[in-house]
Assembly symmetry: C2
Homo-oligomer: 111 residues x 2
DNA sequence: AAAGTGTGTAAGATGTTGCTTAAATACTTA
DNA sequence: TAAGTATTTAAGCAACATCTTACACACTTT
């Protein structure tokens, strides 16, 4: 998870993920989308993403095709969702508190 | 989102988030959980988390109480889930391909 | 008001990241 | 096999992140 979250923390790498989400894209085509940084820079980002398990690589002749590997995000998604779900808990608590504040009203739900 | 994901990329900060997920915790109590790093280091992490919108701060007398602010994770969670959902798409595609491979079988589902 | 707690800020050392240019590798085509 | 195309690796550098120690601030208690 650590590696995946570190990888995803960089905006260029997030842009790459979006680019290869639905289809394979060659290293060159990916690099062409980033006019501001050099091809080697993109290549380094790709290496990091592959190492983090976030990208699948297929070598075909001259070229290398990258594609999102969503399973690599599993742990990161789980972690963030677990944290995120705390908001539901808080809303629920607030609702219960408010409900209890209505004096004399019975709570229909069990527990 | 960028700030939130960068904040979450650090393991110490993730540990802090877990610590304050369900309850308020004072800066000192948080720091006590990290025997390996100094109190000021923890304080700096707290500042980063607050700046990223991931922590709520309540000052009470001498102490400062921190608590998870799940809304701060909204964009990050959405992004990761969007990426993550690509796996569902892929499984669906694979299933359809396989189905089509069964010669002469009709596809019952529309589209 | 002085001393005691709890906490944050400043300054600086150290390690890490992300970029660039130059060179190397891998495969393809003439 | 020589030249061409696609891509990565190497080396070096500037910027940034994280830690530490020393200090400052804000409240509380005596």
């Amino acid at each position: 998870m650590d590696e995946a979250l570190r990888a995803v923390a960089d905006p260029t790498r997030r842009a790459i993920l979006v680019l290869v989400r639905d289809r394979e894209v060659s290293a060159g085509d990916i690099a062409r989308h980033f006019s501001d940084i050099s091809r080697p820079a993109v290549s380094q980002h790709l290496r990091i993403l592959v190492a983090a398990g976030l990208l699948d690589l297929r070598r075909a002749g001259n070229r290398r095709f990258y594609r999102l590997r969503p399973e690599g995000l599993a742990e990161a998604v789980t972690f963030l969702e677990t944290m995120w779900s705390a908001s539901l808990g808080r809303l629920k608590d607030a609702a219960e508190r408010q409900e209890r504040a209505h004096t004399g009203e019975d709570d229909m739900r069990g527990s």
